[in-house]
């Protein structure tokens, strides 16, 4: 047993399995304290089977048994509790599997992370703060980003200083920075960071004990990502810069995830938000004394094909009509799906009986007592709404808000995940059904107050008109019991047409009344577009920043043509190479391409140079000759493919061309444009049909 009183210092990490090591920081150095840890698993089932198991497992050294009664979310379970070291749990599971008992009994608390369980059982809080407003503890951290090119480390960035020479002095700088820090944030592209550590050891600069975990490609939300090799340094907390949470919310985001989920920071930085949410649920279950099933058996209830079709519909996405709209307000439900879980008491044990039924689906739900999921997520939701309300431009509060937003977002999806311990597909279906109902209520109330609903995506609505927005929000909140707020107020908002002439879902841009722009789906938001195209669009935005009506927009036609010409001339007459660099995100291997696309040509060009790029990795390159598949990867190679870049630039022009034509089609104010098909035909320009396929 260690001697450190956890009350005195900040708990910043925990490691181990049978012997848990707590890392406490005292504002100058780390203190370690070790604890022997014995835990338990619980078995319920037929008494005869359990007695048989008891006789067998008692022969395993280090396992003790007791007959107990414990709580699950559905009520009380009587059964056999096995007390053992965490490392023994796999042995017991193997025994149950091989002896055939696995399918005859229910196993609880059998696959929990021992560190996480240890902290949860003792209600230990990582990076403890006494109130939500309190700032994070100050803990030394260093960012070390080696830049890798041509199979060599070319330069090293340590915090904000760049070292261009990889000399012993630079390595000494890296070594000292690591030694004096608790957190090491690293970039390990091409294993560059682990090479750096190896160089420090080999050249005798210092001694760093580290280990590597190989990286892998994975798919998440339809995008292929690649996580590079992970590095752990003994006595340090290492965070990879390609960690999802770190890239979204930085170190304060990781602190927040650790705080709410009780996951140690290194784990919090590597897991997906979904895993962090399940850790939070486990932690809550442990602190409430609720059993966590080892194997999920909350299977989907049998349902008719008609009910499946009715229930499996997701959120509502309204089809925008292409056009230029004036005086638009964007309103959105705050954390809509988690709010539905909490306000409507949706949990596996509250469904199937109760005092209200879900719209369309008829599932009965008990509105009281509060179910496990609403209890587990309620505090998280309140905390997120609190940070959302106070964040402003404050970096720590904003980071916490973003981190919590991701947890809440995935908490909904997790209810439908087949292996989620506290998930049930009927809960998932009920959440989306109530969401559809709520958005329909919001639309109806908006129309009642004289607004025109122009677009909607699941929990957001874009409405045009001069009605009373505050009154609208009040009515929606009263009827749905869900918080709804104004996200943005726009002077004008443009929905360009898609290839088929209808509005393109999720593609729009507009000028907010505070003078800022918001854009989605156009080139300014795309990673795979060169800077010159983005520069054009940003400059085009400012062209329309003073427009107050359709006439003002239409009058900008000549200015827009001049701007277009200026950018075309830049490409024709010779453009800076950095303006033409394109970020290619690789989604598959070169041999998996069916069509010889520009990305396949790029991969082939790299393979000829001896580089193999993993799906999920990105490559920055300039296209020198698209037909011949020639690319430049730095400024040393000359030239670029003018026709390709002119084509890209022309694509960037199109939303603004449409804006002029939409404004020109109706000078009387209000909404103009309406149906993209009309405009296409009026202009007699078939080519424009192909313009808006973003």
């Amino acid at each position: 047993m260690g001697t450190v009183d956890p009350e005195d210092f900040i708990l910043i990490n925990a490691t181990g399995m049978d012997r848990i090591r707590l890392w406490h920081y005292d504002h100058s150095r780390i203190h370690f304290s070790d604890f022997d840890y014995t835990t338990w698993v619980f078995l319920s089932g037929e008494k005869y089977d359990l007695e048989n198991i008891e006789n067998q497992v008692e022969k395993i050294r280090g396992v003790k048994t007791a007959w107990e009664s414990r709580k699950s979310i559905y009520g009380s379970e009587k059964g056999l509790c096995l007390y053992l070291k965490p490392s023994m749990i796999d042995t017991v599971k193997q025994f149950l599997e091989k002896s055939g008992f696995r399918r005859r009994i229910k196993l609880f608390n059998s696959d929990l992370n021992p560190v996480h369980r240890f902290l949860s059982e003792r209600s230990m809080e990582l990076f403890r703060i006494t109130s939500p407003e309190e700032y994070d503890p100050v803990i030394p951290a260093v960012r070390i980003f080696p830049y890798f090119s041509g199979n060599e480390i070319r330069k090293i960035q340590i915090d904000d200083t760049i070292f261009r020479e990889i000399s012993d002095n630079t390595l000494q700088e890296v070594y000292s920075s690591i030694k004096s820090s608790v957190f090491v944030i690293y970039s390990n592209q091409g294993s560059s960071f682990s090479r750096l550590l190896e160089m420090i050891n080999v050249r005798g600069i210092g001694r760093i004990l580290y280990k590597k975990t190989p990286g892998k490609a994975f798919e998440s939300y339809g995008q292929v990502h690649f996580s590079g090799d992970r590095v752990s340094i003994k006595g340090k907390i290492c965070i990879s810069s390609d960690s999802f949470i770190y890239s979204e919310a930085g170190l304060p985001g990781i602190f927040e995830i650790s705080r709410v989920s009780r996951l140690p920071p290194e784990t919090a930085s590597t897991v997906t938000p979904g895993t962090a949410v399940s850790a939070l649920e486990f932690s809550k279950a442990i602190s409430m004394g609720i059993l966590i099933p080892g194997y999920k058996d909350d299977h989907e209830s049998p349902k008719s094909l008609a009910l499946l079709r009715l229930s499996d519909r997701g959120g509502i996405t309204l089809q925008p009509m292409p056009g230029l709209y004036w005086n638009v307000t964007e309103i959105d439900f705050s954390s809509m799906y988690p709010s539905i879980i909490v306000r409507y008491n949706l949990s596996p044990e509250t469904i199937g009986h109760g005092d209200y039924s879900v719209p369309w689906l008829g599932y009965r739900i008990s509105s009281s007592p509060a179910g496990f999921l609403p209890l587990a997520l309620g505090d998280l939701l309140d905390l997120r709404l609190f940070y959302k309300s106070i964040r402003g431009d404050h970096p720590q509060y904003s980071a916490r808000d973003i981190a919590l937003k991701w947890l809440l977002l995935t908490s909904f999806g997790y209810t439908g995940y087949k292996n989620a311990k506290f998930g049930k597909i009927e809960i998932h279906e009920s959440i989306t059904a109530i969401g559809r109902w709520a958005i329909s209520i919001a639309m109806a109330e908006a129309r009642r107050l004289g607004f025109t609903v122009i677009h909607g995506i699941v929990d957001s609505l874009w409405i045009a008109g001069d009605g009373d927005v505050d009154e609208l929000l009040r009515r929606i909140k009263e009827r749905t019991r869900l918080d709804i707020v104004v996200d943005s107020r726009y002077k004008w908002l443009l929905f360009p047409p898609a290839r088929n002439g209808n509005g393109s879902v999720g593609t729009y841009f507009g000028l907010r009344k505070d003078g800022t722009f918001k854009a989605r789906g156009i080139d300014t938001r795309r990673e795979d577009v060169p800077k010159i195209c983005k520069d054009f669009q940003f400059e085009a935005f400012s062209l329309f920043s003073e427009c107050n009506n359709n006439s003002d927009v239409a009058e900008k036609s000549a200015d827009l043509e001049r701007l277009k010409k200026k950018y075309m001339n830049r490409i024709r007459s010779g453009c800076a190479h950095e303006d033409l660099a394109i970020n290619f995100r690789i989604t598959r291997r070169s041999e998996e391409y069916v069509v010889n696309t520009i990305t396949r040509k790029l991969l082939k060009a790299l393979e000829r140079r001896g580089f193999h790029i993993n799906p999920g990795e990105s490559i920055v390159a300039r296209i020198v000759n698209a037909d011949l598949g020639i690319f430049a990867f730095d400024s040393s190679a000359e030239g670029y493919d003018r026709s390709v870049y002119i084509g890209m630039l022309k694509r960037s022009f199109k939303p603004f061309d449409y804006m002029i034509s939409a404004a020109g089609s109706n000078h009387s104010g209000g909404h103009s444009g309406k149906n993209g098909l009309n405009l296409l035909r009026k202009n007699g320009d078939r080519d424009i049909v192909d313009l808006y396929d973003f």
Binding site: G314, I316, T317, L318, G416, Y417, I425, L677
Partner: protein, 76 residues
């Protein structure tokens, strides 16, 4: 994850793609008209989703509805 059935939008795209096979056998002008008509129905996919109607029926109803609007307005 939760969703196990295709979305209304996906189903409509699939139906529309099947219908577009007719275009190859048509006079070019008729083919253009068919494409335009099929696109008309796509704007109501959110309403079809919301109503829970069978997608084929909802899509056809949407096309008829849009054609009705064109006839009513007389200028489209």
């Amino acid at each position: 994850m939760g969703r196990t059935t295709p979305t209304v939008r996906q189903k409509i795209d699939s139906i529309s793609k099947d219908c577009m096979k007719m275009k190859d056998m048509m006079e070019p002008a008729d083919g253009e008209l068919l494409e335009r008509m099929l696109n008309l129905g796509k704007v109501h996919s959110p309403e079809i989703n919301f109503s829970g109607l069978p997608v084929e029926f909802g899509y056809l109803l949407s096309i008829v509805f849009e054609l009705f609007k064109i006839i009513r307005d007389g200028n489209r």
